[in-house]
């Protein structure tokens, strides 16, 4: 069992290194076509939204849980305002975690 887990971890590390490294090192020999560059420019913002939107909306066993008990959604409101205004990782984290901590005290 132990060697199997170590083996899985090694293979996970190796395969993930390949997808992190190969595109950067192979594509740097070419100039990418404009349309590919434009497509790639949308990738980060799309990825972040695709990860976070379901996280904020889910709850109560549902994909979309619009309720005052959805603390993630409530905490997201001030976090979004601060993040949009400051574009700062630190301020957004502090706002989000602070709001969540307060909500947990008052709502639960």
């Amino acid at each position: 069992m132990d060697t199997r887990i170590i083996l899985i971890i090694l293979v996970l590390g190796g395969t993930n290194f390949i997808i992190r490294f190969l595109p950067a090192v192979f594509l740097n020999k070419f100039t990418l076509p404009k349309v590919v560059e434009e497509w790639l420019s949308y990738v980060p913002v799309a990825t972040m939204a695709a990860i976070v939107m379901p996280e904020l909306l889910k709850g109560g066993g549902q994909t979309v849980y619009l309720s005052w008990s959805n603390l993630n959604l409530l905490s997201a409101v001030p976090t979004i305002l601060v993040a949009a205004k400051t574009k700062s990782l630190g301020f957004s984290l502090a706002t989000g975690m602070g709001t969540m901590a307060l909500l947990r005290i008052f709502i639960q």
Binding site: R20, L40, V45, A46, N72
Partner: protein
């Protein structure tokens, strides 16, 4: 100059570390309870260095999933790194491959966004880049090991709002990458597609599929909508 770049990298890694620390602790606790040793947990954090990827890997392995199921699921979940890596190709043109390899091992959602945001105003400096990535990586590795070793002594982390660290981080990353109104629209499209895919039960492939579809929609709309 070396010290300046190095310090800037560490400074920029600080908020990333603030987010990684609670997440890493939580991961350590969960993985330890699932039967992983601190050594295995540390090794995973060194080699895989992926929050969502590691949580899913531990869940799958402890549920008894097959070897290749685990490997391919994590590749699918992390396939966005390949797209980020393609974007990085323009920044690593003048760097030797070993340096690119070292930098790419530290590629995560957070380090990617923070470094590329920095390079909009500064030249891509490998000292800054390595310092940013390695500092973030060290925080991740040490917090996961700490969670594994000291997990049972840590009070309920959720009451401190730590369970919102990850969503808060991604909200910030969203606004850091949303350069204009079109990008915001593209993000919203991605979010909605992602929700629909999860609703259909595609919770491993939702991020990569939503990203590919929304980025394509962005390019298509940009052709039609001027300005």
């Amino acid at each position: 100059m070396f010290a300046y770049q190095f310090k800037t990298g560490m400074k920029k890694a600080l908020p990333i570390g603030m987010g990684y620390f609670p997440l890493g602790l939580a991961f350590g606790v969960i993985a330890e309870n699932a039967g992983f040793t601190p050594l295995q947990i540390g090794l995973m954090s060194v080699l895989l260095f992926s929050g969502s990827g590691q949580f899913i890997a531990v869940a799958l392995i402890s549920a008894g999933a097959g070897f290749w199921t685990v490997v391919f699921t994590i590749l699918l979940v992390n396939s966005r790194y390949a797209l980020f890596s393609a974007t990085l190709s323009q920044y690593v043109k003048k760097m030797p491959s070993w340096l690119t390899a070292l930098i790419c091992q530290g590629l995560t959602d957070e380090t990617f966004v923070v470094s590329t945001a920095h390079f909009r105003e500064n030249k891509p400096d490998p000292r800054f880049w390595l310092s940013l990535n390695i500092t973030s990586h060290i925080v991740w590795i040490s917090s996961t090991i700490l969670g594994a070793v000291a997990g049972n002594f840590i009070p309920n982390l959720d009451s401190l709002g730590l369970n919102f660290a990850l969503p808060a981080m991604f909200i910030a990353l969203f606004f850091m990458t949303a350069a204009n109104v079109k990008a915001v629209c593209c993000g919203i499209i991605a979010g909605v597609i992602s929700l629909v895919l999860i609703h259909w039960g595609l919770s491993d492939a939702n991020v990569i599929l939503a990203t590919i579809l929304a980025a394509t929609a962005g390019v298509v709309f940009n052709k039609w909508i001027p300005g």
